[in-house]
């Protein structure tokens, strides 16, 4: 018990004295996850919006597939990205394995279905509400996409935050493709796993506390934005 208290005190000290190693790990984690979420937004939002607005054969199958991909096991994603980026893989020539870029790619694969599926859901609901009005105003189906994306912006930020939550807390895929190399690909989750196995609980606890802090902040933002979106909907109802 005394040992735990001592580790906890050390963890607090690491956080508040600005331990350079700890904050470098936090910074890399944030950089990787933020980049991954931005790329996922660029891919997932138009795909989700297109699935919401367009009508074509096989659309339902694509939606089911996209929803299924939301629950794709991260270690399997890690394995697939590893095989793709490994020296004998199709993208091996790029030599991206064990780099932050490889971790971003893995997170993009994990987060894009979440962003696309949530975007599809939000935009489809809004499209249903706006459909006749936009047609009456002479807005074509294609031209309605940016209108819908803009008007669903609060809900879409919520989708991005949900994606960020998934990315920042991810461990299985990034440890496979990143390799957990010190000062290169070591992020919060992989460091926690490593340091716990080594018995260095102070650093693991400090990173855990920061990770929880980020998760709480993201969830608070999601709740606040969801509440705002709900209020907007209720006002309209």
């Amino acid at each position: 018990m005394q040992s735990f208290a001592s580790e906890f005190n050390q963890a607090i000290t690491l956080i508040f004295l600005g331990d350079s190693e700890l904050w470098a790990i936090v910074l890399l984690s944030l950089q990787v996850s933020i980049f991954a979420v931005l790329i996922s937004a660029l891919i997932g939002m138009p795909v989700g919006a297109a699935l919401a607005v367009a009508r074509f054969p096989g659309r339902r199958v694509l939606i089911v597939l996209m929803n299924a991909l939301m629950g794709f096991p991260p270690v399997v994603v890690g394995l697939l990205v590893y095989l793709t980026l490994s020296r004998s893989g199709p993208l091996g020539v790029l030599e991206l394995l064990y780099t932050p870029t490889a971790m971003i790619i893995a997170q993009v694969v994990l987060v894009t279905p979440i962003v696309a599926a949530l975007t599809r859901q939000v935009v489809e609901m809004l499209a249903e509400e706006y459909s006749e009005q936009l047609r009456s105003l002479g807005v074509s189906r294609l031209a309605s996409v940016p209108v819908l994306l803009w008007d669903a912006r609060i809900a879409l930020v919520t989708a991005l935050l949900a994606g960020f939550g998934r990315a920042i807390a991810e461990v299985g895929a990034v440890i496979i493709v990143g390799g957990n190399i010190n000062h290169v690909t070591r992020v919060m989750t992989t460091t926690i796993a490593l340091e716990t196995s080594k018995g260095n609980l102070a650093l693991a606890l400090a990173l855990g506390a920061i990770l929880i802090g980020i998760a709480v902040a993201v969830n608070a933002m999601v709740s606040a934005l969801s509440l705002r979106a709900e209020e907007e909907g209720l006002r309209h109802a």
């Binding site: 706006y130 006749e132 047609r135 009456s136 105003l137 002479g138 807005v139 309209h236």
Partner: protein
């Protein structure tokens, strides 16, 4: 005679219009010609096909059979661009009041200065001065419907369709909407409006279309239809009887 009427300028007409669902005719109008100066009010009980007819006239619904014509020609994109529609529940963009109007004006290619002055004009027209920056979703029911009408008027429509725009409003809000409709009509906008309110039809209409069960049961000069209805369905509806 029908063809002659259909070819008159500003005339809106339907021929052999039919919409069915699960084998049941929801709308069956052999012929209807709205060629008067308007406002035309479409009256009838729930399920009479009033809103469906309005959507067909505006091209939002393509009927299984029959044609909708404007100025003698089949309804096309050019005609639709010269029409506006206001729905029973106003559908406002999740933006400010001014941005809702700006959305339409921008699509018309107006300059920033032109849009700004037109927005001010429109807000004054709808009594929404001082609410330009307010979220459109925070407006009251009456204000929201006025904004929806202003947005439709921003299109400079030749014809404005209104689908029960005052059904959920109190008398004061209804009066403001009716004044807007009258002013638009006086400026030459052809008004076609659906209502349940017989009093409203008396106040606004120059001609009245009575509908029941997907059929037009009577169409004529407002005073004649409202005071001396010819059809039994119209008489029962206007007498306040239960019509199904």
């Amino acid at each position: 005679m029908r063809d002659l009427i259909s070819e008159m300028a500003g005339c809106l007409s339907v021929d052999e219009l039919q919409i069915t669902r699960k084998g049941q005719a929801l709308l069956n109008v052999p012929h209807l010609s709205l060629d008067g100066p308007g406002p035309t009010l479409i009256l009838g009980p729930n399920g009479a096909g009033k809103s469906l007819l309005l959507r067909c006239l505006h091209g939002l619904i393509v009927p299984e059979r029959g044609q909708v014509r404007q100025d003698g020609a089949l309804l096309n994109a050019d005609h639709k661009a010269r029409q506006g529609m206001v729905f029973q529940q106003p559908v406002l963009l999740r933006r400010s009041v001014a941005a809702n109007l700006d959305f339409v004006l921008k699509r018309q290619g107006l300059t920033r200065t032109g849009r700004k002055s037109r927005i001010e004009e429109l807000l004054a027209e709808g009594g929404l001065e001082g609410k330009a920056r307010q979220s459109a979703r925070s407006l009251s029911g009456g204000e929201a419907q006025r904004l929806a009408i202003l947005r439709a008027l921003a299109l400079n429509p030749e014809t404005l369709f209104l689908d029960e725009p005052t059904s959920a409003l109190d008398p004061s809000a209804t009066q403001m909407i009716e004044r807007m409709v009258q002013r638009a009509s006086a400026r030459g906008v052809r008004i076609v409006m659906v209502t349940h309110d017989i009093g409203q039809a008396r106040r606004l209409a120059t001609d009245v279309v009575m509908m029941q069960g997907g059929h037009v049961v009577e169409h004529g000069v407002a005073q004649q239809v409202l005071d001396t209805p010819k059809s039994l369905a119209s008489r029962r509806y206007l007498a306040g009887g239960l019509v199904t």
